[in-house]
Symmetry: C2
Subunit: 376 residues, 2 copies
C-alpha cells in the first residue's frame, strides 16, 4: 500500500485499491491506520475529474519515521536524514582520519554521530543505513575487510546497536560504493538512469553497478571492487599486496601525491589556473581510469558511467581523456554509445543512499510502525 503511494504521490484511495487489488474498505482502514502512525497524510484534493465526489490525494508523510544514513569514510564520518518522501536533510560531515584509530574508538565516534543526528530530529528514526569502505558479506552483514581502515571481520550492526540506544530499529550495513550508486539512482539529478556503473573516487576507489534499476552485488555481495583492478600488473605496490591496482595509480592519495597538492581544493585551484604539472597528472590518471572503466564496460556492457566522489569534482579535467580511452578500448562503442556523466551528489551520494535504503525498508515493511500505534 505504501509502495503504491510512494510510486504515485497524490494517488487516491480508489487508485490504491485499483493498484493493489485490495477492496476500497480495506484500503480505507489501512490508510486510516497509516495516517494515525504518521506514515501517510491526506493532501490537496486531486484535480476534479468530471462531476462527482472529489478524491483525496495521499502522500507519504514528511513527519513520519526518517531513515538515518551514516558513512564511515577513511577520513570522515558523515550523517544525513531522509524522510519518507525522499527529502534529504540535516547533512553533517565530521572530518578526522580514521586510519590511525583503533576500531572501537571509531565506532564510539560513529555512535555519537548517530545519536546526535537522531537527537536533532523532532520525529522518530525508523532505520539506519551504514555505508562502509570495504567488503560487506550479504549473508551475514559482516564487514569482512576495509583495507584502507585496516579492519577485518567486524559485525557492524551488532557493534553499533550496543553503542546507540535506539530500540530495535533495523540497521542495514553496505559497501559505500554500492550505496553511492543507489544514492545517485534514487536521489540524483539524472532521472533517466537505469543501467550504469557509478565509480566513487576517494582514498579508496569503488564501483556500484546498477542494472535495470537494481544493484548488482555479485554472488556474496563482494562485487564492484574496481579499486583493486589490475591496470599495470608490474606497477607500484598496493596496500592490498598486489601491484598496479587502479587505486595505487588513480586514487585520491596517488593524485595528490603526484601533483604535490595537499588537498583536492588546492588541486582544483591549480587546475583552474592552468598549472601544467597538475593538468599532466590528471590526464595520466584519466588514462588509467579510462582503461579500468573500459574493462568494466567490455565485461558488463553497461552503457553509462557516472563519475562520483573526487572524480565528480575533477570531471571537467578528466572527461576528454576518459572519452578517448573508452572510445578506443570498448569494442561495442560503435553500436552502443557510452555516456560519461558527472554525479550530481558527489561525495554525498553514499550517505544519502544509505539513508534512503533505510527509508525504502520502512516503506516495504511498515507493519512495525503501524502496529506500534494501534490502540490495544
Amino acid at each position: 500500500m505504501l509502495s503504491a503511494i510512494a510510486d504515485s504521490p497524490g494517488i487516491s484511495r480508489a487508485g490504491v485499491a485499483a493498484r493493489t487489488g485490495l477492496t476500497k474498505a480495506t484500503v480505507s482502514s489501512l490508510v486510516d491506520r497509516a495516517i494515525a502512525a504518521q506514515l501517510v497524510e491526506d493532501g490537496e484534493p486531486t484535480q476534479r475529474q468530471g462531476p462527482g465526489r472529489r478524491g483525496t490525494s495521499l502522500f507519504l508523510s514528511p513527519a513520519g519515521p526518517h531513515g538515518l544514513g551514516v558513512e564511515i569514510g577513511v577520513d570522515y564520518v558523515a550523517t544525513c536524514l531522509v524522510d519518507l518522501t525522499g527529502r534529504v536533510s540535516r547533512q553533517r560531515i565530521r572530518t578526522g582520519d580514521n586510519r590511525s584509530q583503533p576500531v572501537n574508538r571509531v565506532l564510539v565516534k560513529v555512535a555519537r554521530a548517530i545519536r546526535s543526528a537522531a537527537a536533532e530530529l523532532p520525529v522518530r528514526v525508523g532505520g539506519i543505513g551504514v555505508a562502509v569502505p570495504g567488503l560487506v558479506e550479504a549473508a551475514t552483514g559482516f564487514l569482512r575487510t576495509a583495507p584502507n581502515l585496516g579492519w577485518r571481520d567486524v559485525d557492524m550492526a551488532a557493534e553499533l546497536r550496543e553503542r546507540v540506544d535506539l530500540d530495535d530499529i533495523p540497521i542495514l550495513v553496505g559497501n559505500e560504493a554500492n550505496y553511492a550508486a543507489l544514492g545517485e539512482l534514487w536521489n540524483g539529478g539524472h532521472s533517466e538512469l537505469t543501467d550504469f556503473v557509478h565509480v566513487s573516487g576517494e582514498i579508496g576507489i569503488g564501483a556500484g553497478i546498477v542494472m535495470d534499476r537494481t544493484l548488482f552485488e555479485g554472488v556474496r555481495g563482494f562485487g564492484g571492487e574496481i579499486g583493486h583492478m589490475s591496470v599495470d600488473a608490474k606497477g607500484p605496490q598496493c596496500s592490498c599486496g598486489a601491484r598496479g591496482c587502479l587505486e595505487v595509480v588513480a586514487g585520491q592519495d596517488a593524485i595528490l601525491r603526484q601533483a604535490d597538492s595537499p588537498d583536492v581544493s588546492t588541486l582544483v585551484a591549480r587546475l583552474s589556473a592552468g598549472d601544467r604539472k597538475a593538468l599532466t597528472v590528471v590526464r595520466s590518471v584519466a588514462r588509467w581510469l579510462g582503461a579500468a572503466l573500459s574493462n568494466v564496460v567490455n565485461l558488463l556492457d553497461v552503457p553509462t558511467i557516472v563519475l562520483g566522489g573526487t572524480y565528480a569534482t575533477l570531471e571537467p579535467w578528466l572527461r576528454d581523456v576518459l572519452m578517448e580511452e573508452v572510445d578506443l578500448r570498448v569494442i561495442s562503442a560503435d553500436w552502443s554509445e557510452i555516456r560519461i556523466l558527472r554525479s550530481t551528489l558527489g561525495t554525498e551520494a553514499a550517505v544519502q543512499g544509505a539513508a534512503t535504503s533505510a527509508v525504502r525498508a520502512i516503506v516495504a515493511d511498515p507493519d512495525p510502525f503501524i502496529t506500534a500505534t494501534v490502540p490495544s
Copy 2:
C-alpha cells in the same frame, strides 16, 4: 509440459499433472499428441510404489527433432547435433583459415556444413544455433563485429537462411564464448556449477558469465569481452586499435609465437618434455590471464573460473600461477574460496552450447512441432 519431462526424466502423467497444475485428462491428451510428434516416448514403468496401477514413465524422445549447432571459428567450422534428451552426436570439425576469406565464401562453407550435418540425420532438424567469434546484438541478432574475422554488421540468420533449405526452422545466433559457457553448464562434467565465468582461450579470448544458472549478457548482449581487457595499457598493439589487451599478450597466437611453436599440440609436447622456454612462456601467460580473471572476480564476485578452449588444454601448466595471482589479487579471497576448474568439453563447448540452445528452444515452445503432426 515438455519442461516437466526434461527436468524429471521418467516422470509419470500424474507427476506431470501435479507439476504443471493441468488436469490429468489434459496431460494425457497433450502427451498423446507429443508422442505422435515423436517429442516424447513412453519408457519403462516407474518403480512400483505400493499396490495399484503402475505409472508409465515419460521421457523426451531421442528420435524427435534435433538441435544443430554450428560454430564459425577463426580457423575452423564445427558442427554437432543434440537430441531432445541432450545427447550429443555427429560432431564434425573442418579446419581452414576463415580470416583470409570474403564473408560470402565462408558463409557458403558454413551452409554446406549445416546441410551435410542435417543430411546425416535420419530425423528432423528442429532448430539451428550458430556460434560466432564476435559481438552479437541481442535486439537484432546481428553480428556487429568479429575483429579476428574482420566482419561487421552481418545478419547471420538471414544470410544462412538464404543458403540452406531447411524450411522455417529457428536460427539462433550467439557469441561463441557465451555458447561455450552454456555448453559447460548444460553438457559439461561439473554438475554443481551455478555461478561461474568460462574463459575460452582460442585465437580470440572470450568470457561467458553465468550467474544463478543463467547467462549474463549485459544490456545489449555485448558483455563478457575479456579479450580486450586492458592488462598492460602501454603494452603491444592489438588488432582492435588499443594497446595491451589480454588477447595480444595471452591469446593462442601470442602464446605460440612467443614459444616458437607451430601449433598447440607441439607446444603441449614441449611442455610435457619440460622444455624451459615453453614453460616460461606459459607461466608468463598465466600471470596476465590471472590478473584479468582476478579483475573479473573482483568486479562480479563469481567464485568459480572454468578454463575452456586452449586454456583447458594448457591447464596443467597454467593452474599454479593462476591460483597464485587470484589469491594475491582477489580481495574477497579470504572469505570466498575461488575455484579454478578445467572445462570438460574444451574446444567443443561452444558448438554443443549452440546446439543445446536450439534444443531448449524446442522444449520451451514445441507447438510448431505438435501442430504440424495433428491430422487436419
